[in-house]
Structure formats: C-alpha cells, structure tokens
C-alpha cells in the first residue's frame, strides 16, 4: 500500500518535471530516463521496491543513484571539455591515479584520510592541467593529447601502488562510497553539491558563455577578447578534478585501490552520458544537467539489465540498442516525424507542470538557454 502511494507520487512528480521541460533540450534525456523507469515499474519486479533499514533507504532506484555517482561526476567535467570541442579520454586513468595515491598515502604511508584525499585531488588536478597544457598550450589534438595520459596514467597508478592492490579500512575513506547522509547514500549529496557548484561556476559567471563561444568558433572568440587558451586549459583541469573525485568514490566503493580496473572504460560512459544529455561532440552549446541525467540513464540501464538477470557478457547489446534509440529521439529530424504520437501526454501533465515551484523550473531551464 505504502509502495503504491509512493510510486504514484514519484510518477506525478516525474511527469510534472518532464512537462515543465517540454520545450527544453534536456526533455528528451529526462524522458528517456522516464520511459526506462516506466518499463521497470511494470516489467521488472522489485525494481521500485524501497526499504528503510537502520534509517537508510535501500532499493534499485537508490542503487542507480549510488552506482551512477562516478559517471555523473565524470560527466560534469566531460561536458565542459566537449563543449570546447575537445574530449578527455584520460578520466578513467586519472581515477586510477587518484585511487592509487590516496590508498598509498593512507595505508603504506600512514597518513590521515584528509591528507590522502587532498593529495589525490591535487594530483588529479595536475593531471588535468597536463592535458590542458598539451591541448591549449601546444595545440595538440585533444584526442591524442588525452590519449597519452589514458595509456600512461594506469602505468603511473601501478608505480604508485607498486603493482599491489591496496586494501584499506579507514572509516573516512570508506564513508565516501558507502556512507549514508539524509537516509541516502553520501554519493547522492556529493553529486548534488558538485552539480550545484559547477552550475554556479559556469552559469552564474560568464565562463559558460565563454566555453560555448570557444567551442563554437575558437578564432572568433579570440578576436572578441576571450582568453580562449585559458578557457580550454581550465576545462581540462576541472575535468581532472572531477575524475579525481570519481576515483576516490570508486576505490571507496570496493575499499581498495586496483590500478588495473578502477575507472576502466568509464571515459566512454562519460562521453556517452554527455551525448545522451544533448551536447554535441562538435562543441558549443552544452547541457550540464542533461549530462548528469544522461549518466543516470546509463546507470539505470545497467542496473535494469542486472536486475533482470541479463548476463553481463551480453548486456552491452541491449544497452547499445537502447542508447541508439535515445540518440534517435534527440535528433530533430527523427522527432519531427514522431511528433503526433506524443500530444496526448501533454494533456495529463500540463496542470501538474504549472504547479511546480517556479524556482526549480527556472533553475532547470537556466541550464539550457536555447528555446
């Protein structure tokens, strides 16, 4: 009974948000997530089941938030890099470096968690700045410049851990990826705080405009007096920071630093999240909230397949199919043909959308300035 009510509330809230975003670019990303959830509501038993244990919520939806945190963090940095017309392939390797540095300091060097975390983040920022230097300073193609660190980074991480898998039990480090805050996993708060900080950084200052301008036309931005080189340097550095944070979460999740496997292929998930979130790989306009929702979508898909006992060997196939479908729906050409199918839904959610708090709606809209 409780579940039935909470599900209904969930859907009303979700539908209302969706309706309020109907003219926004991120509508399609949020909509895709909604469709996937709707599928689970009816066809995946137990997916919507939420349980309160020791004052913490547990359930598949909570898992999605928790497990998706890494890619959501990565996508925050990645979306800005992609907006400048670049790409950062090194984030997975930087995650490994960050994990290696923090656990080595914690375990081998017996340093307090605070220092380990700070050092790991600092190293990640340096790694990002290195990418920035190669791309902005020396004008190397982003794909090549970041490939250097993608390949070499894991080697660096191996050097740091001396080829060992380092296990740790430090409560602060373990809390990062396993702790709870406000009855939800701590990672939810972490992602939310990072999202708000990033939104502030790019939309409340002129940085977002500069990034979009540089990504759309580098030369013209330079002529307009934008320090285009600095903008590029900055986004790679920021992406390094986000990767460092994601690396800490990743090693905390498994309470150990495995230089070979932490963050493996996650750069691809992050790029995918950005694309699903509506940002073009060509650069220019970017959608920060879109990228995070995109990451959430990818994780929801993974969790769905897992919950439906699809073996992990074959799960990339349905995953790929669904992602193709999403990308199709985000294409204006494809949508124009499909438009008539969606009109009835508007009638249901229109009254709800107009009742949402104005602040929330404008905050979401603010991220996607295009009408």
């Amino acid at each position: 009974m409780i579940n039935w009510v909470s599900d209904l509330l969930f859907w009303l809230f979700f539908g209302a948000i969706l309706y309020s975003l109907r003219h926004q670019r991120i509508f399609w990303t949020v909509g895709a997530l909604g469709l996937l959830m709707l599928f689970n509501q009816f066809f995946t038993p137990g997916f919507f089941h939420v349980q309160l244990l020791d004052g913490h919520f547990y359930g598949s939806r909570i898992d999605v938030l928790n497990q998706g945190a890494k890619v959501m963090l990565l996508s925050l940095g990645m979306v800005l890099v992609i907006a400048t017309g670049g790409v950062d392939l090194s984030v997975g390797a930087v995650m490994a470096i960050s994990a290696a540095v923090s656990s080595r300091l914690l375990v081998t060097e017996h340093q307090p968690a605070g220092i380990a975390i700070a050092a790991a983040l600092l190293i990640s920022v340096v790694a990002g700045a290195w990418n920035g230097l190669l791309v902005a300073g020396f004008g190397i193609q982003p794909i090549i410049a970041t490939l250097v660190l993608m390949v070499a980074g894991r080697g660096v991480a191996q050097l740091v851990t001396e080829g060992q898998i380092i296990n740790f039990l430090d409560p602060t480090m373990v809390y990062l990826g396993n702790g709870h805050l406000f009855a939800l996993p701590f990672t939810v708060t972490l992602v939310l705080v990072m999202l708000i900080l990033t939104l502030f950084l790019v939309r409340r200052t002129a940085l977002g405009l500069f990034i979009e301008s540089v990504g759309d036309n580098y030369e013209a931005s330079r002529y307009s007096g934008i320090n285009a080189m600095q903008v590029k340097f900055l986004v790679y550095t920021f992406s390094g920071f986000c990767a460092g944070l994601a690396g800490l979460v990743a090693c905390s999740n498994i309470k150990s630093a495995d230089a070979n496997n932490i963050g493996l292929y996650l750069e691809l998930d992050a790029i995918l999240a950005v694309v699903v979130g509506g940002t073009s790989l060509v650069g220019g306009r970017f959608y920060l909230v879109g990228a995070v929702v995109g990451a959430l979508f990818i994780q929801a898909l993974t969790t769905t397949l897992y919950a439906r006992n699809v073996s992990s060997d074959v799960s990339p196939v349905p995953k790929a199919l669904v992602i193709i479908a999403v990308c199709l729906f985000e294409s204006d050409v494809f949508r124009a043909r499909m438009a008539p199918l969606f009109r009835p839904l508007g009638r249901i959610f229109k009254p709800l959308g107009s009742r949402l708090p104005r602040k929330l709606v404008t905050a979401l809209r603010h991220d996607s300035p295009e009408p």
Partner: protein, 508 residues
C-alpha cells in the same frame, strides 16, 4: 526564335513561415550571360538551389533545351548539364588539381582508378579555360582565384550546357576578376549559357547581357543590361524610387568633425617580416582613414598587427602618445580598439549562439569571467542595438547563423559598439552584403566619426573608400606606397597609385 537553353516557369518554394520564391520565371539562351540580381534574402540562392535540386520545389517547371527536367540532387543536375560553382570554393584543398577536377566521377577500370585518364581529362578541362597548371600540385597551394578557376573547370568537365556562378568574384581582386571575365566571354562564344550572381554592379555591367532582378522572392523583371541604367537597377533591387537611391550615394564625407590633431593611434615603422613591410600610420579621433589596395596587398595584415592578432617584429604603436605592446586582441581591446574581421565566418560570428550572446560577447570578455552581465542587462543591451542598428531578426534569442549576411555584420558591429571603442577597425565591412545594409553601414560609420571615434576603414571598393575617408593610405605588395588627403582623394588617384606601382613591378 530557337528553343531557349533553359526555361523556368513559375518556380515556387516556401520554407516554414516564408515564401522564399513566388512563381519566378527565368529564360536563358545559349551563349548568353544572364545576371541574377537582388538584395540578400531576395531568393537568388534559393532559386539556384531549387533549380539544381538541392531543395525540392513546391511548384513550377523547368525545361532544359525544351525537355522537361526535375533534378532531385545537384549531381543529377550536373548530369543533365547544369553545373554550379558556389561562392565558397567547394573543393578539397589537400587533393591535387587533377583529383579535384575528376572527384566523384573518376574513370575506373574494374574499380581501379585510371590515373592516366584522370590526367588527360583534367588537362582537357583546364585547356577549355586556357589554363595550364601543375595537375599534381595540391590545390591549396594555389591562390583562391586559381582554385575558383579549377572549380569552374570541374563544372565544365561534365559537358555542361549551363554554368551557374554564385558570387564567383567575391574573393577575387580586380585583375583576377578581369582574368575570370576573359574566360567567361570565351565560354559564351562557345555557346555556353551562364547564370551569374553577384553583388558588384560594375561587374554585372561589364559582363552580362541580361539582368533578372529578384526581390522578396518575386521576379521584378528581366532587362537588357545596356538599356538599364545603374540607378534604375538599384531601385528595382531595393524597391525604392530612383531619387531616394540617388540620395543614398552622393554624400561625400567632410572633415568638419576632426576634433584634434593629436592622433588617437600612431604606428611608427610597424612591420613584420614576410607579412608587411614597416609602415607609418596615424589615425585621429573623428576621422576615417581609408586603407586601399588590391587583395593581398597587406591591408588585413596591417589590421591584424594593430589589433594584436599577430605580433609585429619591429616598430611601435602609440595610443594617445603612449607606447603599447599588443600580445593578443585582449590587449588591444583594453586600449579600446575594436575590429570586425574581413572573414566574418572564420573570425567574426559565433554561429550557434544567439544574437543576444553575440552582441554582449566582447563587452563580457572585457569585463572578465566574474563580473557577468545579468540576463536583464544583456537583454537591454541586445534590444538597444537590434533597434538602433535595425538588425532584422525575429527575436534576440535567434541563433546568429540564421540571420542574413548583412544582419550578421550588423550584430558584429553591435558587439563592438557595446564596448564603446575609441578606434574601430573595419575590415571589408560591406563585403557580401546587400545594397540596403551597405548604405546603412556607411551611414553608421559617418555617425561614429561624428561622435569622435577614429575609424580605420578597409575596403576593396574604391568608391566606398572615396566616399568614406578623410585620408587614404594605399598599400601595394605589402608596403605603403602612398597617402592621399582630403581633396586629393578620388578613385582615379588611388588607381593611379596602385597602377604606378604595378608598372614598376613589371619593369623590375
């Protein structure tokens, strides 16, 4: 009368919200050069695109040599004998000349490319234009003018009956245009029909036999070039009376407003090796300094040095008497210098940002990242300039790429006016924009001058320079060859200066 080569009847095309072409007729005879004239947005390009099958047509019929045709793609139109050469050279810069000519229809033998045949065909195609080029050389190593010729050769290679040239001369200098026209006349004698689109009135009168004028998607009429006075043509194009048009062009700038003799900007021996030889310049507040010269004479290079895009390796720049060094445009902007670049697409517009964002961009950049203009401030600023410069856009949130060339240029002017510059460098501000917008921009320059701005005005059109400037500096072969002031300024005097230099060169 013989069957016309091309006969278009009541061609119509609508885009959402606009009727781009409304029942347009056009007849072209073999061996005729037919100019298609009209302001930006009159429908010239749409007409060509519908004719050659880039866009599907809504209504109308086309006959080529009496046979009904309806190409669905440009390739099909080419096969039928209608080839188009576009404004921007649509070739592949890294391939060789021969490859470019035959690309997409390479002679093959069981799938393998027959290089000998390619060379033969390319040579034949170039011979038709009296060109002999190194067929193996990379296309990009040739000048834009030659690349344009190669594009024409490519178009002719497909046994074309009708050649469509969309603004072929906009990036050519005077001599190159002459050369092109010589070739076109020869092709005309060979019985080719040519549709010629341009903004340059001089060229239309020099080369065309007939003129069809379009305005707002309608055909205004078709006239024999020799019977149509220039002023009439302009009045047909912009839809105003002859008297009004005459009033637009006649005003000659006066010097009354030069406020002081102290230059706002002074360049002494400013130069850069292999770029521009050292030159002296002075620009005073309330003055328009014209920079004249052929394409490639160093005009843009000078502007780039003054704006910090490239660094000079000798000489100094003085702003209000103080020596300054510009390492980037940012440094120049800090000294209140503004520049609209020659190539709007490459260095000017941010196509996928809105008109509002494009207008506030330079101001925001000079304020820095942290002092962001609030949205209401941005909107106020954008609205002000959209109104005062009469930028035609459905809203300030329209993407800039959706505006016509003239309005994009106005938005760029707005971007810089928002920074309240003291020196405005305008590099070819009227290139590729229509007569109406051109007159407005010229008017704007004069009003800026009256407000006490210093303006450096670069243009290929001598008449424009003569109308606008109080002083003119003439460049040739990347060095300053003369300076004219006031009463000395005339198109003839500038030509003289450039031409003298040219004869010197031939002697040397």
């Amino acid at each position: 009368m013989a069957t016309p080569l091309l006969e278009v009847k009541a061609l119509s095309k609508g885009f959402p919200g606009v009727k781009a072409l409304d029942a347009v007729d056009l007849t072209v005879q073999a061996g005729e050069i037919h100019a298609l004239m009209g302001e930006n947005g009159a429908g010239k390009s749409t007409f060509i695109k519908v004719l050659t099958g880039v866009f599907p047509r809504d209504a109308g019929e086309t006959r080529l040599e009496g046979k009904m045709i309806a190409p669905k793609a440009p390739r099909e139109a080419e096969m039928l004998g209608m080839s188009t050469v576009y404004q921007e050279v649509n070739l592949i810069p890294h391939l060789s000349v021969a490859e470019n000519i035959c690309l997409g229809r390479q002679p093959t033998w069981f799938g393998a490319i027959r290089w000998a045949a390619i060379t033969r065909r390319a040579r034949a195609a170039l011979a038709r234009l009296d060109l002999s080029l190194d067929l193996k050389r990379q296309l990009s190593s040739y000048s834009i003018a030659i690349q344009q010729m190669v594009a024409i050769a490519r178009a002719l290679d497909i046994s074309a009956k009708l050649l469509i040239l969309d603004e072929p001369t906009s990036s050519l200098d005077k001599l190159e245009v002459e050369e092109l026209f010589k070739k076109l006349r020869k092709l005309r004698e060979g019985g080719l029909g040519i549709i010629f689109i341009t903004h340059f009135l001089d060229q239309v009168y020099e080369i065309s036999d007939l003129i069809t004028v379009l305005r707002n998607g309608h055909r205004v009429g078709c006239y024999a070039t020799k019977d149509l006075p220039r002023i009439k043509l302009v009045s047909h194009m912009i839809g105003k009376d002859v008297q009004e048009v005459e009033a637009l062009g006649q005003k000659r700038a006066s010097t009354a407003t030069i406020r002081s003799n102290r230059p706002m900007l002074e360049a002494k021996g400013l130069g850069r090796k292999g770029f521009i030889q050292p030159l002296d310049l002075e620009i005073r507040p309330g003055e328009v300094l014209g920079l004249a010269g052929l394409l490639g004479s160093g005009r843009t290079e000078t502007a780039r040095l003054l704006f910090g895009v490239d660094r000079p390796d000798q000489g100094t720049i003085l702003i209000d008497g103080r020596a300054v060094k510009f390492n980037s445009p940012r440094a120049a902007i800090r000294c209140r210098i503004a520049l609209t670049p020659e190539d709007r697409k490459v260095a000017g517009i941010i196509p996928n940002l809105t008109v509002r964002e494009n207008i506030i961009l330079a101001l925001q950049a000079s304020r820095g990242t942290w002092r962001r203009l609030s949205v209401p401030e941005q909107e106020k600023l954008a609205d002000r300039f959209i109104r005062s410069l009469d930028i035609k856009t459905p809203s300030r949130e329209q993407l800039l790429r959706n505006l016509s060339g003239g309005n994009q240029q106005k938005a760029l002017l707005a971007r810089w006016l928002a920074t309240e510059p003291k020196l405005f460098i305008l590099d070819e501000p009227t290139r590729g924009i229509d007569v109406g917008a051109k007159a407005e921009i010229e008017k704007l320059i004069q009003s800026l001058r009256q407000e006490g701005l210093a303006v450096l005005f670069i243009s290929s059109e001598l008449e424009e320079i003569v109308r606008q400037s109080q002083r003119v500096v003439i460049l040739r072969d990347r060095r300053k060859v003369g300076e004219l002031a006031e009463a000395e300024i005339s198109a003839e005097a500038i030509m003289q200066s450039i031409a003298t230099a040219d004869t010197e060169r031939t002697v040397a």
